[in-house]
Structures are given as C-alpha cells and as structure tokens.
C-alpha cells in the first residue's frame, strides 16, 4: 500500500458556483448549518493530495447486490429490479480506477432501514438499502438494486424527495471526497425538490440524472440505468513542489 505508484499533483480548484451554495434557504436545514464566514483558500498540500486505498479484497460477495445482500436465503428485495452502472472519471475524462463507491437508499416504498426514519411505508424484511463497489481499472462500476420510492420529508408542508440513491465517492486523494445523489430520468419530482434545487445550474442537475439504458437491461429480469460520475482532476507534478533555484 505504501509503494510510490502514482505521481499525484494538486487537484483542480473546485468550482463552488457549480456546487450548491452552503446557504440555501429553501432547504431549511442548511440555514443553521452553513458557514457564514469566507472559506480560507488553501490549495493542496500533501495532506490533501494523498488518500487511502481500498482494495477489492475487502469487498464481500454480495456487497454490490442490494437485491440479495440483506435477503433471507431464497428470497429477494421487493420492487423494480434495476442495475445501476457507469464510469467514474476525472475532469480530464480519465477513468478513476479503485474508487470506492458506497450507496444507500430507501426501499421500493420510500422507507429507510434506519432507526430515525418513521415514515409509514413498511420496511422490506429483505432489503437493507446499502451496498458498495470499487471501480475497476477502467473506472467502471455496477450494482444491482431495486428502484427506491419517493418519500415525504419535513421541509415545506408537502415536500417529496424524488426517487434517489445516495452516492459516496472516494477517489485517490482526500480533497477529492464527494457525496452526491443520483436521480432517475423522467421523475417529475426532480424539478420540485428543494434539495435538488440547492444546485443553481440546470446543467449541473442534469449530471445527477441517470438515464434508462436499454442496452444494459437484462431481458426478463432487470432494467439498467447509466450514471457516470466525475471527480476532481489533478495537475501534473512536473512544475510543482520545487523551490525556485533548487
């Protein structure tokens, strides 16, 4: 794990107008949870450019299969069976291999397996709602699950989340860390959702909308959705980390 294998320069600066602003008053919880002072621009030191590596050997056999990984033997999760797959790329469109992709979601009825979720839709005894994969050498990942249901949440009096899957991504450096959400093409709740609408640019929102991918459906079994993810790119170290005259 400690062999010097990658020559990793600083990450491209984050476009903070592209990401949602910390304070988004229509998403009420952000009001008291948003820094009010300016961020201190740091660029990257070695503390930011480095990061841990997650090996494929840490994965269990069913980590990528949410239909099965909480189900009793011979049973499976209820709902629309889907495959979610895509590439993890950086801003230069280079694949990000060995990225850790962790996902979590509500069940087909919109209920989370979490002690703090008391939505009246029932739990599915065969669905845990959690999975993880590591991208292969081409940055590709895939997992199988059921399509999560929309659910109401206390923000406005009648706010509903679109069907969505939460994604956590760990690329090659700590400054590349990202959590986001995947939505489903054609869901009428997407433009109504105050959390989606924390993002200002429609083109940015579009990046989070997975597309029905008929080519990767498994006939008579599961439909497929394609969801590519882009992590921060990084500079070459060729001109970095040298004092003038050294």
């Amino acid at each position: 794990m400690s062999k010097p294998t990658t020559n990793a320069g600083p990450f491209f600066p984050r476009d903070r107008n592209w990401h949602p602003p910390a304070l988004s008053p229509n998403y009420k919880t952000s009001v008291l949870r948003s820094p009010q002072k300016a961020l201190l621009s740091l660029g990257n030191t070695i503390s930011e450019t480095t990061g841990p590596v997650f090996g494929h050997n840490m994965l269990g056999e069913l980590d990528h299969d949410l239909v099965q990984n909480y189900a009793k033997p011979g049973e499976s999760a209820q709902g629309e069976r889907i495959i979610v797959h895509g590439h993890v790329l950086d801003e230069e469109a280079k694949p990000v291999p060995n990225a850790l992709v962790e996902v979590w979601q509500a069940n087909a009825g919109g209920r989370y397996r979490h002690k703090k979720d008391d939505y009246l839709a029932p739990l599915d005894p065969n669905f845990g709602g959690c999975g993880r994969v590591i991208t292969d050498e081409n940055g590709y990942y895939a997992f199988r699950t059921v399509r999560p249901g929309p659910y109401p949440w206390p923000n406005g009096v009648n706010d509903w989340r679109p069907s969505h899957i939460h994604f956590s991504l760990f690329g090659s450096g700590f400054a590349q860390r990202l959590i986001t959400q995947m939505y489903f093409e054609g869901d009428p709740h997407i433009p109504l959702c105050p959390i989606v609408r924390t993002i200002n640019d429609p083109a940015a929102i579009e990046m989070l909308v997975a597309k029905l991918d008929m080519n990767h459906c498994v006939p008579m079994d599961a439909r497929a959705y394609r969801f590519d993810i882009v992590l921060r790119g990084r500079r070459s170290t060729m001109f970095e980390n040298r004092m003038e005259g050294n």
């Binding site: 400690s2 230069e92 990046m207």
Partner: protein, 203 residues
C-alpha cells in the same frame, strides 16, 4: 485549433440524515451486510507512535450539537508519512491506515477517534507544517462537505511557524483550529456558525 475540453465535477448533494445506512451500517444496527464499518479502526497493537483520543461535537448556529453528522479524518503517521500510494518520501507505518470515519453519537452528538499523533509534513515549498489532522464533515443540511484541520496546542512553536495557520488573516480565529488537551485526550469542537465559527478551508 486547441480547445479546452474539461468535464465538470459532479455536483455535491447533502449526505442527508441516513448517511449511516451506507457508510456505517453496523453503527445503527444494520448488521450482516458488511463485516465492520470502514474507517472504524485506524490502528492495531503494532502501530507506532503516541496513542491519542480525539473527541468533540459539531455545533449549528444556535449552539446545538448535530446528531446526524459523520466525520472523516486523514493524517500522517507518527513519522509524518502518509499511508498512500502517492506518498513518495518513504514507507509509512503499515500498521496505521491514516484514515478514520466516525458518525457522531445519535443522542449526544459526540464523535471519538482513536489514533496516533501525526508527525510534521512538508508544505509544498519545503517548510514544515505543524502536526495536524484533516477533517471532513458531512450531515443533513450540509450541501458540500466541510474541510477543516485540527492542530495540537502543545506544538506552540510549530503552530506559530505553520504556513497554513499563517494564512488566517483574523488571528483571533486561529484558536478555532487548535484542540484542547487533557493528557492523551484532545477535544476538538467544530462550530459551523457564530462568533466561534471554525475556519473551514477551500482545498
């Protein structure tokens, strides 16, 4: 004709209140899927260095601790080396991961990391950085993870010369990045808003 063709980074969305389901399922009793929660253990008996405990809470603008936050830390080993493939300066302690992940307690809001005190690491221009630990904080209501650093109060001299702390224009805010020490236990409270707002970084 040269064209600059870059992709945009996928935009962030909040981790929401149920981040545990995916990141620390065993912590909320969703057992049987993953053997153990990733990042829960950073060391073993062979790990070199001074064992320390880091505790703290994350406070909102009213001074109420967040009950649904998750924190990750990343740090050098006791010699100042990172257990990372991009560490070119030497071989880090193989018994120390350098990476930790902890949710806050669902009732008290307290987080706790068991780790070792990191050594100093260089700034890009070669000057030493004082020993520090990088923090990343996500929660419901946080649209993009917050980055900050924890420094050590007993490292007065190194902190005074630290090039990152040196960039904090309003010197009264430097103290928000320095933990409080009691033996081998450090308390690092994080204030998202208010008079004591922690310095957060755009890295």
């Amino acid at each position: 004709m040269t064209k600059l063709e870059y992709l945009k980074e996928s935009p962030s969305q909040t981790a929401g209140p149920y981040v545990h389901i995916g990141c620390t399922p065993n912590f909320i009793g969703n057992t049987g899927i993953f053997k153990e929660d990733l990042g829960a253990r950073m060391m073993n008996e062979q790990t070199k260095g001074q064992r320390i405990t880091i505790k703290g809470r994350v406070f909102d603008g009213t001074g109420t601790p967040l009950k649904d936050a998750m924190l990750e830390i990343w740090q050098a080993d006791s010699e100042g080396l990172f257990n990372s493939p991009s560490e070119m300066r030497g071989e880090a302690d193989p018994n120390f991961t350098g990476w930790g992940r902890q949710p806050v307690n669902l009732d008290s809001g307290e987080f706790c990391f068991e780790t070792v005190k990191p050594g100093a690491v260089p700034f890009p221009d070669g000057r030493p950085q004082a020993p520090h630990i990088n923090f990343w904080i996500v929660a419901r209501g946080i649209n993009l993870g917050l980055n900050t650093r924890m420094y050590f109060p007993e490292e007065e001299e190194a902190n005074a010369a630290d090039p990152v702390l040196g960039r904090v224009e309003h010197r009264v805010r430097v103290s928000t990045l320095i933990a409080k020490q009691s033996g081998d236990t450090y308390t690092f409270d994080i204030y998202i808003q208010g008079d004591n707002e922690t310095v957060f970084f755009d890295i």
